[in-house]
Symmetry: C2
Subunit: 166 residues, 2 copies
């Protein structure tokens, strides 16, 4: 269901470049693509204010400006929620999260990039339907929030539900 491609390799082996090229090709093919970078470093503080809110204990800190970002608790489950057709992971070599490709040196950037695209092009575009509120049929391709709902229900293994007011 979830189409995850994991690229592993030593430092400076060319992981980032291979993924970068593959993302461009997969986007051209109409896929929505997410990239996760695993690192042993910290995210640089992207501006004093968001850093201060994190330090004060906020569970989530969002930045909305010319571009947008969210500082989140480190929970790998987030990858099962994002409304994306293809997830490419750089690193996490000790975990088996998806189909693994290893890159050994920058001379393989071109071939590894092609291999990512090859695997990616086998991925299904996210689709599905809901029957909601006792009748209405809703196509999840209609919007991002519906796709997110679909992914979340799959993750939680829920096929049907009703909300009980409490």
């Amino acid at each position: 269901m979830d189409c995850i491609i994991q690229v592993v390799g030593k430092k400076d082996s060319g992981k980032t470049s291979a993924i970068e090229r593959a993302v461009k090709s997969l986007k051209d093919m109409g896929y929505s693509v997410t990239v996760l970078k695993h690192s042993h470093h910290s995210l640089d503080s992207p501006g004093k204010d968001t850093f201060r809110f994190k330090q004060a204990g906020a569970d989530y800190v969002l930045f909305f400006g010319n571009d947008c970002g969210m500082f989140i608790p480190c929970d790998i489950n987030i990858i099962y929620l994002l409304p994306t057709d293809i997830l490419i992971i750089e690193g996490y070599k000790d975990l088996s999260l998806g189909q693994k490709i290893e890159i050994e040196s920058p001379s393989q950037i071109e071939s590894v990039s092609k291999r990512i695209v090859e695997l990616g092009s086998l991925c299904n575009k996210l689709e599905g339907k809901f029957i909601v509120n006792g009748g209405n049929e809703v196509d999840i391709s209609r919007d991002k929030m519906l796709k997110m709902l679909y992914k979340l229900l799959n993750f939680l293994n829920i096929k049907e539900l009703s909300v009980r007011n409490s």
Copy 2:
């Protein structure tokens, strides 16, 4: 349902400091708290690799390291999805997203911070129940993903649904 407190004021009026103090108090009171900062600036590029993935066209870019972050499309709807009891927004003065508090100068940091906490302490902690897969009752307080599901269903105005395989 959603408890949103918006703090507006001119540059250097003390918005960040007032929110920072309020977050600490509300966390001590057991609330989960999210802060959104609205700015006319850009998020600094937090490291070359994530920036390269964004440039290559990735819809979402995640960074998982000692701390975690996600670079997301700028869609304000995300605020209705986060599994949080209280959302505090700094800025967005032209939008009415929640209860608005204005701060005029740093001399008001203390009083504005108290006012945020006062409003926040009226907020309900996120709770609710689902009946799933034809019988099981599930309490959303059990985990973050269930809370996210609850918020998402509220946002989409869905009271019951079933997934149709397609």
